[in-house]
C-alpha cells in the first residue's frame, strides 16, 4: 500500500447511503460538485449520489464515423470499378445497387469504430492520473473522491468522516493503493 502523491482524497464507505450523505456534506462545506466523484464497483442509477450531470458529445461520434465510413465505401467502390472497368452481364461499370452493400458496411463500420473511440474518450480513458484509489471499491465498498483539496483538506476530511467513512486514502494518516 503506497501513499498517492496527489492532492486528492478518497473516502471509503461501506454503505451507499453514507456515500450519498458524504457528497451532500461536501457540497454544504463548499466543495464544488465538479471536484467530487463517487467510485463504485457497479453502475448505480444516474444522480443516485447527487452527483453533477456531465454534458457529453458522444452522440456526435457515430454520425461523424458514419460519414467517414460512407465516404471510404463510396471511394472504394467507385475507384475499383473505374480502375478496372470490366463489363459483366451488361451492367454499367458504375452500377449503384451492388455498391450499396459495401457502402452500407463501410458506413456502419465507421459509425461503430467512432462510437467506441467516443466512449473511451468521454469516459476519460485511459486514466493514468495519480488520483487515489482503493481496491476495496471492487469488493463492494464505495469511494468518494475529492479532487483539488488544496486549502480545504481538513474541511473535506471532516465531511467524509462525519458521513461515516471507514477509511480515508490520500491523507498522511490513511492508506490505499493505486490501480
Amino acid at each position: 500500500m503506497e501513499r498517492p502523491p496527489s492532492q486528492s482524497m478518497l473516502g471509503i464507505f461501506r454503505d451507499p447511503d453514507d456515500a450519498a450523505r458524504a457528497v451532500e456534506g461536501l457540497r454544504s462545506a463548499g466543495v464544488p460538485g465538479t471536484d467530487v466523484e463517487v467510485l463504485t464497483d457497479s453502475p448505480y442509477p444516474e444522480g443516485a449520489f447527487g452527483e453533477d450531470h456531465h454534458r457529453h458529445r458522444l452522440y456526435v461520434f457515430p454520425f461523424v464515423g458514419a460519414a467517414c465510413g460512407l465516404a471510404v465505401g463510396l471511394m472504394l467502390t467507385i475507384s475499383t470499378q473505374i480502375s478496372y472497368p470490366m463489363i459483366t452481364g451488361g451492367k454499367p461499370v458504375l452500377s449503384i445497387p451492388p455498391m450499396i452493400n459495401v457502402m452500407y458496411e463501410g458506413t456502419m463500420l465507421g459509425a461503430i469504430l467512432f462510437t467506441i473511440i467516443g466512449i473511451i474518450f468521454e469516459s476519460r480513458l485511459p486514466n493514468l492520473g495519480p488520483a487515489p484509489y482503493d481496491t476495496r471499491i471492487t469488493e463492494g465498498y464505495l469511494g468518494v473522491l475529492v479532487t483539488r483539496t488544496e486549502g480545504r483538506a481538513s474541511v473535506a476530511e471532516r465531511a467524509l468522516r462525519d458521513a461515516g467513512a471507514v477509511d480515508i486514502v490520500g491523507q498522511p494518516a490513511a492508506a490505499g493503493t493505486s490501480p
Binding site: 451507499p16 447527487g50 451492388p98 456502419m108 476519460r124 471492487t138
Partner: protein, 457 residues
C-alpha cells in the same frame, strides 16, 4: 419469476474470477484434446495445400459442399450472440445479465472460424488477397464490387470488428476487478487493458450508453451479414438458390441455430464452472420461450422457400426439391434435419418443466444445431448436383471425404478452444452486471434517489 440468490460483491468476484485466476487440471486435459483436433485440422489443410482440392469429394458440378456448409453454419451461430445481447440490452430484459458476454464471445469465435472456411475452400488462400483487397496496383486488377463474393468479406469484417470491440468495451469494468485481485504479470496485463477504469459515475454512465448505442448500431449489421451471406446463393442463377426469400430465411435460420447454441453453451458453462447461482433454470426457461418463437418463424420461412420452389412448376426447381426429399441419401438427411431442427425440440419446449430442465435444454438445443447444419448442407449440395445435367455428370454424386469431416471437427475445436481460452483470461459472466442486478433487485433509497426493483423479465 426470477430465482434470486443473495450474492455479496466479494462472492461474485470470487466465483466469477475463480477460473481466470486458478487453473483446474481438466483445463489442461481439454487443451490437449482440442489441440489434437486442431493439429489434425492443420495437417489436413496442409495436405490440401500440397496436393490441391482432390482429396475433397468435389466433382464437376458440386464444388461448394461441406466447407461452405460449415461457413454458413458458423456465420449463423455467430448471429446469436450479438442478437441476444443487443435485443436483451435494448429491451432491458433482466435475465440477460449472465447470458450476454458468453453470447458475444460465441459470436466472435464463431465468426472468426466461419471466415477461415472460404479461405480453406479456395485451396490457395495466399492468392486470396486479390479477391477482396484492392491493392494490385502493378497489374491494375481490383475486386469487382458488383459481386456478392466481395460483399461477403466486407460484411463479415464489419461484424467481426464490431463484435470484438463490443466485447472489449463491456469487459473493461471487469478487467478493473481482475486488476485489483492480481499481482505480477497478470496485474500488468489487466491494468493495461482496464486503462485505469476506476468506476466513476461518468465511466458507468458511458458503459450504460455504450451497451445501448452499440447494440442499436450492431443490430442492423447483424441483419445485413446473413442477408449478404444469402446473396452468395440467391444472386446466382442456380435452381434452388435463386429465390427472394433467402435473405430473411437465412437471418431467421441463423437466429434459430445461434440462440440454440447459446443455450448449449450456457448449460456447459454452468456445469464446468459451477455457476449454478448465476445461470439458473429461469434463464433456460426464458431461452426456451424465445426459441419456440424463433423456431416457428424459421419454419414459416422454410415453408415459404419450399412453396416458392414448387409453385413456379419450373422443372429444375422441382428436380431440386425431388432430390432433397425423395432421393437417398438426401431423404434420410432431410428427415433427420426437419425432426432435429423443429419437430422434436419445439414440442418439448412448450412444456415449462422441460424448459427448466437443463439437461433437456442442453440436448434439445444441441439437436437443433445438428439439424441446422444438415439444413445448410441440403440447401447447398442438391441444387449444385442437378445444376447441369450433362451426360458426363450422371454418375457423379458428391460424397464427403474423411478430410472434410476432419475440417468440420477442426471448426468445432477452434470455437471451443477460443471460448475456453477467453474464459481462462477473462470472466465469461459480467461481474458488474451481476452486481448491478443484486443492487436493483429490491427498491432501495440511496441518498436523493429511489432505486426501483427490476421487474423486467
Amino acid at each position: 419469476m426470477q430465482e434470486r440468490f443473495d450474492l455479496a460483491p466479494t462472492k461474485v468476484n470470487e466465483d466469477l474470477l475463480r477460473f481466470p485466476l486458478h487453473t483446474p487440471l481438466w483445463f489442461w486435459f481439454a487443451i490437449v484434446v482440442l489441440g489434437a483436433i486442431l493439429g489434425a485440422g492443420v495437417i489436413a489443410f496442409t495436405f490440401m495445400v500440397i496436393v490441391g482440392l482432390q482429396p475433397l469429394g468435389y466433382n464437376n458440378t458440386t464444388y461448394w459442399a461441406i466447407l461452405i456448409t460449415n461457413f454458413v453454419f458458423w456465420v449463423g451461430i455467430s448471429h446469436a450472440g450479438v442478437m441476444i445481447s443487443a435485443i436483451l440490452r435494448l429491451s432491458q430484459a433482466e435475465w440477460r445479465r449472465p447470458v450476454t458476454r458468453a453470447a458475444e464471445v460465441l459470436t466472435v469465435f464463431a465468426l472468426a472460424t466461419a471466415a477461415i472456411f472460404p479461405l480453406i475452400h479456395t485451396g490457395r488462400p495466399w492468392r486470396l488477397v486479390y479477391w477482396f483487397m484492392p491493392y494490385d496496383f502493378a497489374r491494375g486488377i481490383f475486386p469487382d464490387v458488383r459481386s456478392a463474393l466481395i460483399w461477403d468479406p466486407s460484411a463479415i469484417f464489419t461484424y467481426l470488428t464490431s463484435s470484438a470491440l463490443f466485447v472489449f468495451i463491456a469487459l473493461v469494468p471487469d478487467l478493473a476487478v481482475a486488476r485489483d485481485r492480481t499481482t505480477g504479470w497478470r496485474h500488468r496485463f489487466y491494468a493495461l487493458l482496464a486503462m485505469g477504469f476506476h468506476g466513476s459515475a461518468r465511466q458507468w454512465r458511458f458503459q450504460a450508453i455504450a451497451g445501448i448505442l452499440l447494440s442499436a448500431l450492431i443490430l442492423p449489421v447483424f441483419v445485413s451479414v446473413h442477408t449478404i451471406v444469402s446473396f452468395d446463393f440467391s444472386m446466382a442463377l442456380v435452381p434452388g438458390w435463386h429465390t427472394t426469400v433467402f435473405g430473411p430465411y437465412f437471418v431467421i435460420g441463423a437466429v434459430h441455430s445461434g440462440v440454440s447454441a447459446v443455450a448449449t453453451l450456457m448449460a456447459v458453462l454452468r456445469r464446468i464452472f459451477h455457476l449454478e447461482q448465476y445461470i439458473t433454470p429461469d434463464h433456460f426457461d426464458a431461452l426456451g420461450r424465445l426459441l419456440v418463437v424463433v423456431a416457428t418463424a424459421w419454419l414459416f420461412f422454410f415453408m415459404m422457400d419450399f412453396y416458392f420452389g414448387i409453385f413456379s412448376q419450373e422443372p429444375m426447381e422441382l428436380a431440386v426439391w425431388q432430390l432433397r426429399m425423395f432421393q437417398m441419401p438426401y431423404t434420410f438427411l432431410f428427415i433427420v434435419f426437419i425432426f432435429a431442427a423443429y419437430l422434436i425440440p419445439v414440442p418439448i419446449w412448450l412444456f415449462r418443466k422441460a424448459r427448466r430442465n437443463i439437461a433437456v435444454m442442453f440436448w434439445t438445443s444441441l439437436l437443433v444445431n445438428i439439424g441446422m447444419w444438415l439444413e445448410r448442407y441440403i440447401l447447398i449440395v442438391p441444387p449444385l448436383s442437378v445444376k447441369q445435367p450433362f451426360p458426363f455428370t450422371w454418375n457423379e454424386v458428391y460424397q464427403p471425404q474423411p478430410i472434410e469431416f476432419v475440417l468440420v471437427a477442426f471448426s468445432f475445436a477452434l470455437v471451443c478452444s477460443g471460448i475456453l481460452l477467453f474464459s481462462k483470461l477473462f470472466p465469461i459472466i459480467p461481474l458488474f452486471d451481476i452486481k448491478e442486478g443484486q443492487i436493483l433487485k429490491r427498491t432501495v433509497r440511496i441518498g436523493r434517489a429511489t432505486v426501483p426493483a427490476v421487474i423486467r423479465e
